[in-house]
Structure formats: structure tokens, C-alpha cells
Amino acid sequence: MITIEQKMRKIESTTAAMARRQATASRRYRLLREVLNIIKYAILLVFAFIFIMPFVWSVFWALKTDLEIGRNPFSLPVPPRWENIPKVWIQGRYSQYLPNTLIYGFAITTGVCFFSCLAGYGLAKIAFPGRRLIFNFLLIGLMVPFFSLMIPLYTMMRDFGILGTRWALIIPGIGLGVPFGTFLMRSFFLSLPNELADAARIDGCNEWGVFAQVMLPLAGPGLTTLAVFEFMWTWNMFIEPLLFIQRDELRPVGLAIFFFQSRYTVDRGMVAAGILLTAAPIVIMYLLLQRKFIEGVTAGALK
């Protein structure tokens, strides 16, 4: 937090610096700066081009048949095969799979956010012994690829009797997302000042009160970050639903790819169209939440 004095000092030094800069600037410097500016924009545009071109190509592929892609992968789709999109919708069963994906996305994201918030806050703001140990312990969860855990997890789901239901994906999904979530939320809570918490405690709030009424409202940006990441990862899930869901009507969108390929070949046009339909909601979500997302990443990253 910046105090009034600090703010005043900052304004003074900035204006002083600006004055100094004015004094030293001459026409030659201005020209140099213009040239550097142009170079800067050139570099920015080149990279923007590099990052966006493959997406543009994906759009091309989505509007071509596989044969056309084979003939000329990077040309404009002429004529554009708009029928790929309804095909993905029907043949790729998107009309069924999309609602499922939304359900899983929201359920898992909510679960991860909820538990990570609680744990992150506890690890950050309550100085209980063993918190470092618990935190380090949780970090180990980031280290292992999923397929190594899949068989014991499968047996567990079987024993719980939830195989073939939505819970078989949601519950382990939350469990697997919690290490990263806790990591992130703890960092974010660490960056929030303790004075507010202390003030609330002096006022007689218990820990839950401090959390729910003081800290949580401030957790918006961090929570948004976590939500976007989790939602994005849940949206792209493939092997987990394949393993645990086992009912066609409960499948998420990631499994639609089976309808775009046969044993030896892939229909690249359909895959691209499917990807665009899949990625669109995430991109929209990202665009809408951009500001909060960046703020959240800032605070989480700094501590």
C-alpha cells in the first residue's frame, strides 16, 4: 500500500525526471527514439504474426475437407466448407458433449477454487506450525504425469461405485487440481497486507470471519486467474474422462476426436473445426476476464 507521503514523493520525482528528460532531449534524440519505436513495433508485429498465423491456418483447415488440406494445406479455403461445423456438431456429438463439458468445467473449477482458497488462505495467513511442511508436501502433486496414477485411481473409482457417473470425473478432477490451485492462492494471499486481517481479528472476528468477510472479497483477481486456468485445463481433458466416464452421453468435448478419425487416418478438417468450437468459449472467457486475469497473475507471481 502506498501512503500519501510516498505518493507525493513519487509525483515530485516523476515531474523532476520529466523535466530533466526534456532538458536533455534534442532533435537527434527524438529522431533516434522514433526509429527505435518503429523497430519495436516491427518486432511486436512479427511476433504477433508468428503467434496468430497457426490460428488463421486452423480456421482455414476447419473450412476444408481432409483431401483439400492434403492437396494444399495453407491456401485459402475456396469454397469454404461451412458444412464442417454442423458436421462437428452432429457427427462429432458436440450437441451432447458440450453441455457435459460445461458441467465438468464449472463443477471442477468451482471445487478447485473453493478448496484452494481455503487451503491457500490457511497456509498464507495463519502462522500455524507445520505449514511449510504441508505446503512442500502439496507441491509434490505437481510432479507426476497422470497416466502413472490412472490405474489406482480407476480402481478407487470402481470401489467407490461411481464409475460411469459424472462424479467419477469431477471428484478426482478436483483432487488433481488442488495442488496447483493451493500454490497459486497461497501466493496471492501472501501478497495481501496483514493489517486488514489483524484489524478484523482485533474487532473480534474469528478466523472464518476474517477469511469470509475481509480476505475473500479481495481475492477476486487471484481467484479469477485460477478459475481461468482450471477451466481451460478441464476443457481440454482427454484421458481422464475416457477412463472414468464410460458412458457416451456423459462425455465431454475432448473425446469427440474419435469421430474425426478412423484407425489409420485423421480427418484434419473436422479436427480443426472441432478445435475451434472447443477453443472459442475459452478464448471468449479469457477476453472477458482479461483485466482481472492479469491482475491476478501479477499478485500471485510476486510472492
Binding site: T14, A17, K40, I43, L44, A48, I50, F51, I52, P54, W61, P73, F74, F115, L118, A119, Y121, L123, I126, A127, F128, P129, R131, I134, N136, L138, L139, I140, M143, V144, P145, F147, S148, L149, I151, P152, L153, I171, G175, V178, P179, E207, M232, N236, F238, I257, R268, A272, I275, I282, V283, Y286, L287, Q290, I294, E295, V297, T298, A301, K303
Partner: protein, 305 residues
């Protein structure tokens, strides 16, 4: 005397609980979930690494350390480790440096800031599956983007598809990985830069420091937390790397892009050697653990400073 001690203990316990109890309660649900869904499976996999199980049979024979001893005979393990090392190094340094560079360029919020920020982040939303299709088409022989660029610009080297040859396959897949991951680091760096104190920058400029010195002595130290964070994440990701490699080359051609995780997956799924695959998983976890520990120690040292 005894009752006094007992009385004191009761008060201490109650005070302990009152002071710290909430902390444990906050953390409890998460820890429970974690124990059930990560620790137990992990331990089970650890147990499997001492068997010769094939994933189907009801019989699991205990074979002791045989799977681990096999590491020394298995040349694929050493080839994979080399590749992982290269991947971890370049896959950490390049996207972070690139991300930082782009973030520096956008620091002053020039025109188009929002657009650039969105575009640079976009590759992150794609999953491994589409990335595989995408980059295989880019590197396609006779037709791919690389080939066409080579034709247009007259670059002889681009005539050859890099994922066809052993010495260019790994760099080629890394280009794909860097393309996909730079956005992540860029966004974090950009955010981190917002909190660099401008006063110090101005002061340094007045003192006669040029751009490079300002960068090295003002920006970098203020970003040290961020840099440590992303470096650790990148390193851990690098040892665990599987999805993108599998989608583009499946570890080929001829093991030129084989990683520990792809080797483990091949043993797990194709060769039905779940025991050995579990041992390889333990190797991944062990290496990641070492790096995480180093990361934590460095961070703790910094936090005390």
C-alpha cells in the same frame, strides 16, 4: 503438583488450538482430497514399481529392485534423460527470455497493447492434440509451411522436414513447445513488470546508466521472485513433458525425441510393463522433487532477504 501440570497442559492445548486450530481446519479438506487422490495412487504406483505386473493379470510378482536396476541397462533411459535435459534448459531459458523481452517491449503500454497481449497468450488455449496436427502440417514434407517458406525465400535447409531427421527433430519439437508456452511466461512477466519501481529506473538513468545497465541492475532484481517462480514451473514441466512430443513425433524418429515420460508411456501402454513404467515414473518424480526442493530453498532464502 500433577493437577497443576495437567491444568497448565489443558490451557496450553486450548490456547494452541484456539490460536492455530483454524489453520489446520482451513487446510484439512484440501489435504484430505490430496491424500486420497494423489498420495494414495502415488504410493500404489511406488508399490507397483517393485512388481512385474502387466496391467491385466491378477497376479503381481514382487521383483524387488529389478526394475530400477534395469535403468542402467536400458540405453533409452540415458538417451531420454539427455533429451529431457536439453528440453529443460532450452525450454526454460528461451520462452522466459522471449516472454520477458516481449513484456519489456509492451511495458510502456504502447498502442495495440491489449491486442498484442491477447494474441501472445492465445497459443496457451490449445491442447496437445491440435498442436500435434498443426505442427505436423507445418513440418509436412513437400507441402508444409516450412517447405513453402524455404521455396519462397530460397532457404535450402527448409527443404527438408526437420522431424524426419535425428539431429533436427528435437529442436523442431522445441520450437513448437516454445511457440505454445511463451505466452504463459509473457503474461506473468508483463504483470511483474507493472510493479517495478519507476523511481529507481529514473534515478538510474539520471546517474548515467544506459539501457542495459538499468535492465540488469533495476529490472532483474525486482523481478527475481517472478523469475524464480516461472523457472521452477518450467523445469518441473520439462522433466514431466509428454503430451506435445507424443502428438508430434511419438518420441521418434528412431528415439530422437524420446523423453522419460514417453518411454514410460510406451512401456505402460504398448509393452504392458506396468512395473517398469512405474519405476520410470518414480524417476521423473525424484528428479522433479530435487528441482522443487532447490526452488523452495532458493525462494526461502530470498524471502528472508
Amino acid at each position: 503438583m500433577l493437577s497443576q501440570i495437567r491444568g497448565l497442559t489443558k490451557i496450553t492445548v486450548r490456547r494452541f488450538w484456539g490460536k492455530y486450530g483454524a489453520g489446520y481446519l482451513f487446510v484439512l479438506p484440501t489435504v484430505v482430497l490430496y491424500l486420497i487422490f494423489m498420495v494414495y495412487p502415488f504410493c500404489y504406483t511406488f508399490y507397483l514399481s517393485f512388481t512385474d505386473w502387466n496391467g491385466a493379470s491378477p497376479i503381481k510378482n514382487f521383483v524387488g529392485l529389478a526394475n530400477y536396476a534395469r535403468f542402467f541397462r536400458d540405453r533409452l533411459v540415458w538417451i531420454s534423460l539427455q533429451h529431457n535435459l536439453i528440453w529443460m534448459t532450452a525450454g526454460t531459458v528461451v520462452p522466459i527470455t522471449l516472454g520477458l523481452f516481449l513484456a519489456m517491449l509492451l511495458w510502456g503500454r504502447p498502442k495495440g497493447f491489449l491486442t498484442f497481449r491477447t494474441v501472445y497468450f492465445l497459443p496457451q488455449v490449445l491442447g496437445a492434440g491440435i498442436l500435434g496436427v498443426m505442427w505436423r502440417l507445418i513440418y509436412q514434407p513437400r507441402r508444409g509451411v516450412l517447405f513453402q517458406i524455404g521455396q519462397v525465400l530460397g532457404i535450402e535447409a527448409f527443404r527438408y522436414s526437420p522431424i524426419a531427421y535425428a539431429h533436427t527433430a528435437l529442436p523442431a519439437v522445441m520450437v513448437a513447445a516454445i511457440w505454445a508456452s511463451t505466452g504463459f511466461f509473457f503474461v506473468i512477466m508483463l504483470a511483474g513488470l507493472q510493479n517495478v519501481d519507476m523511481d529507481l529506473m529514473d534515478a538510474a538513468q539520471v546517474d548515467g546508466a544506459d539501457a542495459w545497465q538499468r535492465f540488469r541492475n533495476v529490472v532483474i532484481p525486482q523481478l527475481s521472485h517472478v523469475i524464480t517462480l516461472v523457472t521452477a514451473l518450467a523445469l518441473i514441466g520439462g522433466i514431466k513433458e509428454f503430451g506435445l512430443i507424443w502428438a508430434v513425433t511419438q518420441g521418434g524418429p528412431g528415439n530422437a525425441t524420446e523423453m522419460i515420460a514417453t518411454h514410460a508411456y510406451t512401456e505402460f501402454s504398448r509393452h504392458s510393463d506396468v512395473g517398469y513404467a512405474s519405476a520410470l515414473t518414480m524417476l521423473i518424480a525424484a528428479i522433479a522433487f530435487v528441482f522443487t526442493m532447490i526452488f523452495i530453498l532458493v525462494r526461502e532464502r530470498e524471502m528472508e532477504v
